[in-house]
């Protein structure tokens, strides 16, 4: 339970989104161009994060289906910013992987001259902390 709320707080802090303002109207999901690709839809992200039910979201492919087009953010009548919630869950999922698979000090040995700078940045972002 503690971990559950910890994760929720972390996601809320990262996203800055006010999930408690959601009135469950579904306009975000009515708007979303990626809806059919997703297992969990924008309004479900908002609701599940509010409930602290984050595990399922972290494991779902849905986090990578969001286009970050921000249509949901633009149209949510309550200013909830669902895309930012999804973004934060995505970041959390990436960090989790970092915890499980790679350690920062493993990175240098994986590098070679051909590694593009951008990938380096990605690596730092994904495996930081």
């Amino acid at each position: 339970m503690e971990n559950k709320t910890g994760m929720k707080e972390q996601i809320l802090r990262m996203s800055g989104a006010a999930v408690q303002k959601c009135m469950r109207c579904g306009k975000c999901s009515g708007t979303c161009p990626s809806y059919d690709e997703m297992e969990y839809h924008p309004h479900e992200f908002v609701y599940m994060v509010e409930k602290g039910d984050v595990e399922k979201l972290l494991k779902s492919e849905s986090v990578y289906k969001c286009l970050t087009c921000f249509a949901c953010v633009e149209r949510c009548p309550r200013g909830v910013e669902p895309a930012k919630v999804i973004e934060a869950v995505r970041l959390e999922a990436i960090r989790e992987q970092g915890r499980n698979h790679l350690k920062p000090d493993q990175i240098p040995e994986l590098l070679d001259e051909e590694t593009p700078g951008q990938l380096l940045m990605m690596a730092l972002r994904k495996y930081a902390k």
Binding site: R24, C25, G26, G30, T31, D36, H41, C76, R78, G79
Partner: protein, 663 residues
């Protein structure tokens, strides 16, 4: 030397639970001038009041301090008790040891000490109290109703029914308000015009009711019982007393391209017009923005055809000044503008309309003679999508924070009527939740789904996209099926949020009546005084106070009338004697007090004074109208010479209280 009695109330356990009332009575009994100090379970009860009355007689009290609840609760009760025992009621002071002490403290010792201090301050004040006598002001037995919608009409009829004169000021050329634009009305589906027109006619025929149509309120001064109001009768370029309402001018006017506001711009009218057949008063009005004669001096057709000789191109605005005892605000509402919600494509497609436009499209007197046709191509729509809550229940950046209250019901009405008249038309309603509290309301909504087969879908529409084939693709979520829908609709109807009329805010300023952040007028008490404004003599009727349907509007209109009648039935009003007065010898006529007075109670007079050397001098000094002054005290703290003071709350009294607290 005063003889003061102190009465400490337990208020059951409300006070006695946290304050040691016996200790308070004892401590205050030792204060100077206090001749008796007692405690009792409920001071406001009959026997509690008798305790005070008996003490006033037995101890020949000249002042009373009651340590109890807030003066807002029972100051009047105790003042009345004192008066009954022969003491001037303004010799009573309340020390609030409930709201300001027992309710907010937990520690008994601390709370008791504070209660004693509060009691001491009240005693210090009473030492300096002087008996005050309340003045009287006369009541002008005529009421003004601002706004002639169903709210204003009902209030005016009820006031006139009690035998008082009423004037209605309506800014449009006709009374009737939004209800004139509606087709059938929920929950009984009677036709709006059939139930409204008789009331409009009654207003016109009632000898006690006087309608100022096409008029607005320009200025308000005065106070409860005695308001003076300047009414601007806007130039309509038609002599109301001569026009017979035959409508000949409106048929012959060559300027045909004027958007008709009555049909929300969905068709055109002429530059000279009568809004609709049942208009009251049935008098033509020339629209100066479009009349060629007024703009270029060439035309004059209407004046040529008018057999009554009523057209007058030289008419100007006329200001009428009238006196009233009471004013009722009934300025109603308007649907918000929906163009800012790009996702609904209101500005892009003619086939995305508002619910009020839908009313006009289904009304026999509307632009399509009541046939439901698509505005773009005049074809019959086979699939209609209604979207609820457009602009309601939003963050302030997105729209209105409140629920507009009427749209769930009128959308059910629209859906039902469509299915009844056109069974071949599929009707979808997207809702967040359906809100239908009210007598026979939920039953009404259930009929829409159960009997008329309207598809209610829980979810919001995300986007409406006009397509090349003329249909509108509605993309929405169905939250119960957890799927995203795409419906190709022929017509989309937006249930727009409603907001107060834009003129309400400047009007509130003129009336010194308060408003909430949404510009709805605020009531004096949300539960117990719902039709009165906090400003004495100003009453509220209809949707100007908050979203309301017709049944609710009419009940509130009647309630406001009852309050007005109660006021007008009085011959005189007792004034509050705790008003400001200036010490003319100290006043230097600087005008600062007049600038801060929110009620306009202060004027300046030129007065002759005899100077110490016996010479005479004319000086400008402040003079307070005690009938207008509300005793707010703004002037007393502003006056740089210390000339302004309040009866009952003098600077000396306040300082004595502060001293007592700091001792």
């Amino acid at each position: 030397m005063q003889r003061i009695g102190v009465f400490v109330c337990h208020c059951g356990t409300n006070i006695a639970g946290t304050v040691d009332v016996k200790a308070v009575a004892e401590a205050l009994g030792r204060e100077p001038s206090v001749v008796t100090s007692v405690d009792y379970q409920y001071m406001c009860s009959e026997s509690g009041q008798n305790l005070i009355k008996d003490a006033i007689r037995d101890y020949k009290l000249t002042g009373v301090v009651v340590c109890s609840c807030s003066p807002r609760m029972h100051e009047n009760t105790f003042r009345k008790a004192a008066a009954a025992a022969g003491l001037n009621p303004y010799m009573v002071e309340i020390a609030n040891i409930r709201e300001q002490c027992s309710w907010i403290h937990k520690d008994v010792a601390e709370a008791t000490e504070k209660a004693i201090i509060l009691g001491r301050a009240a005693i210090a004040k009473v030492q300096l109290n002087a008996p005050l006598v309340a003045g009287e002001s006369p009541v002008i037995k005529r009421a003004l109703v601002i706004g002639g919608g169903i709210a204003g009409i009902q209030t005016a009829l009820d006031i006139a029914d009690a035998g008082f004169e009423v004037d209605i000021v309506e800014k449009q050329p006709t009374i009737g308000g939004k209800m004139t634009q509606l087709d059938k009305t929920f929950p009984t589906l009677d036709c709006a015009a059939c139930i409204l027109t008789p009331k409009m006619v009654e207003c016109a025929q009632n000898e006690l009711i006087n309608i100022y149509s096409y008029s607005e309120v320009d200025a308000v001064s005065g106070f409860v019982g005695n308001f003076s109001v300047k009414i601007r009768k806007k130039a309509r370029y038609v002599d109301e007393t001569k026009c017979t309402g035959c409508g000949l001018c409106t048929e012959k006017c060559p300027q045909k391209k004027v958007p008709n506001e009555f049909n929300l711009g969905m068709d055109n009218r002429r530059a000279v017009y009568i809004p609709f057949a049942q208009a009251v008063p049935k008098v033509a009005t020339i629209d100066a923005d479009y009349c060629t004669m007024l703009k270029t001096g060439k035309c004059g057709v209407c004046s040529k055809v008018c057999t009554a000789g009523a057209i007058n191109y030289k008419q100007t605005d006329e200001i009428v000044e009238r006196q009233y005892g009471a004013i009722v605000v009934a300025t109603g509402f308007n649907p918000i503008k929906v163009d800012k919600y790009d996702e609904y494509a209101y500005g892009q497609s003619k086939d995305v309309i508002t619910s009020l436009e839908f009313e006009r499209l289904t009304n026999a007197a509307g632009p399509t003679s009541g046939k439901l046709l698509r505005p773009s191509d005049g074809k019959h729509p086979h699939k209609i999508v209604f979207i609820q809550c457009v602009g309601s229940r939003c963050t302030p950046e997105k729209g209105k924070s409140y629920c507009s209250k009427i749209c769930c019901m009128y959308t059910a009405k629209h859906a039902m009527l469509t299915r009844e008249k056109y069974p071949d038309t599929e009707v979808y309603v997207f809702y967040i939740d359906v809100r239908t509290p009210g007598k026979n309301f939920d039953e009404f909504y259930r009929r829409a789904t159960e009997e008329y087969g309207v598809h209610y879908i829980k979810g919001m529409v995300g986007k409406v996209s006009p397509k090349a084939d003329g249909t509108l693709e509605v993309q929405a979520s169905d939250l119960i099926m957890n799927e995203q829908l795409r419906i190709d609709a022929d017509l989309v109807v937006l249930a727009a949020a409603i907001e107060p009329d834009k003129s309400a805010r400047p009007l509130a300023t003129m009336l010194t009546a308060s408003m909430d952040t949404n510009d709805f007028f605020t009531e004096a008490h949300p539960k117990l005084r719902p039709v009165e404004s906090p400003t004495a003599g100003i009453f509220l009727s209809g949707a100007c106070q908050g979203p309301k349907d017709i049944p609710e509007t009419v009940s509130q209109a009647g309630a406001a009338a009852a309050k007005v009648i109660g006021l007008l039935a009085k011959n005189k009003l007792t004034c509050n004697p705790c008003v400001a007065h200036s010490d003319e010898l100290l006043c230097n006529g600087c005008s600062q007090c007049a600038n801060v007075c929110p009620y306009g109670a202060i004027t300046y007079i030129e007065k002759e004074f005899v100077m110490p050397d016996r010479s005479k001098k004319i000086r400008r000094v402040a003079s307070v109208n005690p009938a207008v002054c509300q005793g707010c005290g703004a002037c007393t703290v502003t006056c740089p010479s210390g000339a302004m003071d309040l009866h009952g709350f003098s600077n000396r009294q306040i300082m004595a209280e502060v001293d007592a607290i700091c001792k």
